[in-house]
């Protein structure tokens, strides 16, 4: 069973990963976006780090993820803020008020979170967005957290040959081909942080 401390740890690990990879995310965002994905997530996850350390998140996993999601919406801006914010908020809502949740509960909640992201952004796998990492990642969760992280990583890598159909990169048409999607890359970081946390290596 996973308690609030596990989720606090996950959010800290995600913030660490974003800090580590911010420059790379911004580099990926340069040729097909506007070169700020790393800077924006850095701002958001720094705020999440403080928010989950504070007294506000009640002692449940659901409440903690909802606070993290609200924090991202309130600090990131752009498309990443509402999309990542919705992912965590929706996942948190699905977890309800239980003090501890099973891995199976978390799988179901994350699936609902990813569905909410797809609805909000109107995107589907293959559009060259964060869903290209999140959808295979969540599917692989039934095997293990590490399998999910690897599948998300693979999904992010597989965005290279795709033509963007959503977000700012879509304006490039054919010229968006040949670049890895920064949103899928950061989504893979989030699931990588989850795997590290579950394995106790973060």
């Amino acid at each position: 069973m996973r308690d609030a401390e596990f989720f606090r740890h996950w959010m800290r690990a995600a913030a660490d990963a974003v800090e580590r990879e911010a420059d790379r995310l911004t580099e990926l965002d340069s040729p097909i976006g506007d070169a700020d994905h790393g800077a924006n997530l850095l701002r958001g996850f720094a705020a999440v780090r403080s928010a989950v350390a504070g007294p506000e998140p009640a002692g449940t996993p659901g409440a903690l993820l909802q606070v993290a999601g609200r924090t991202l919406i309130a600090t990131v801006g752009g498309a990443s803020g509402p999309l990542y914010g919705t992912l965590l908020r929706r996942t948190g809502k699905e977890l309800g008020e239980a003090a501890e949740v099973s891995d199976e509960d978390l799988r179901a909640a994350l699936r609902a979170g990813v569905d909410a992201v797809a609805r909000l952004g109107g995107a589907a796998p293959g559009d060259k967005t964060m869903l290209d990492a999140l959808v295979p990642g969540v599917e692989a969760l039934s095997r293990s957290y590490r399998a999910a992280a690897d599948a998300a990583d693979g999904g992010a890598g597989a965005t290279v040959p795709l033509r963007a159909r959503k977000g700012r990169a879509s304006y490039l048409g054919e010229r968006s081909i040949g670049h890895q999607d920064p949103g899928a890359t950061s989504a893979a970081l989030l699931l990588g942080a989850l795997a590290d946390t579950a394995e106790g290596t973060a």
Binding site: D36, I73, S80, G81, R165, K166, G167
Partner: protein, 333 residues
Amino acid sequence: MLINSADTVVGDALRGMAAAHPELEVDVARQVVVRRGARDGGRVGLVSGGGSGHEPLHAGFVGPGMLSAACAGAVFTSPVPDQMLHAAGAVDAGQGVLFVVKNYTGDVLNFRMAAELAEEDGLRVETVLVDDDVAVTDSLYTAGRRGTGATLFVEKIAGAAAEEGAPLDRVAALARQVNDVSRSFGVALGSCTTPAKGSPTFDLPDGELELGVGIHGEPGRERHAMMTAREIAEVAVEAVLDDLARTHPAAGRPVLLLVNGMGATPLLELYGFHAEVAAALAARGVPVARALVGNYVTSLDMAGCSVTVCRADDELLRLWDAPVQTAALRWGR
């Protein structure tokens, strides 16, 4: 770059704006600029906003006859729902609020969240999406057309209607009408440099240009060998009129014309370009009723320009001519 740091660039600009324009209420912490006395007079409120780096859009257009409030995001990044909620609350005089939103995924999502929250608080909110950029041809496979220069026309004309006391439905309908009859096309002669990255966003060698760019320093649809101002004007005018003609024939009808600089193109060049644009329109039988030339919807220090036309009728012209008193646009008082 003439900045203190990439982290403080937006806040610093807002502090400077507050110092230069005491007639505005500038909330530097929230990054919201509000027209002083916005709630006096019981008018419909007009709130817009978007990423910073497009100045004077949007805060430069806050004031009598135009916007009631503007929300500034980080550079090229949409503001967040908290800012829009705060702005809506600060300007709502009971007549409701119109959100003017440029069609970018981030702006759309954040304003949509803000509208839902505002309505939960009992505010009436209407939203108009600005999507005038004809360079985005295949909207089925993109996020849809971008909002660029027509934003200025929408904000000016809807703002004038609100100033006259028009109700929310009417202000929103006018805003949608202006967007519906406006088209834009942009050209980049060089990349911009965002403060966060500190180096040019894309590499555009001397002697080449990008046709069909937006306003975020992103590359356009097509790279081309350098062209003269006359050739660029031909391409831009052809593109906007062709597209407009699919829904609204422009020949013989007067247009509002915006010849807009992207931030690093001098007025000497913009006026020369304007001469070519006006000639290209005249050659196609399109009279220019009013023209505006300058840096209004910019992309940081990008070299380049855009052309926006708005097919005007008598009412749109009257509202365009109505007095406006903002930091970046003022006439008629």
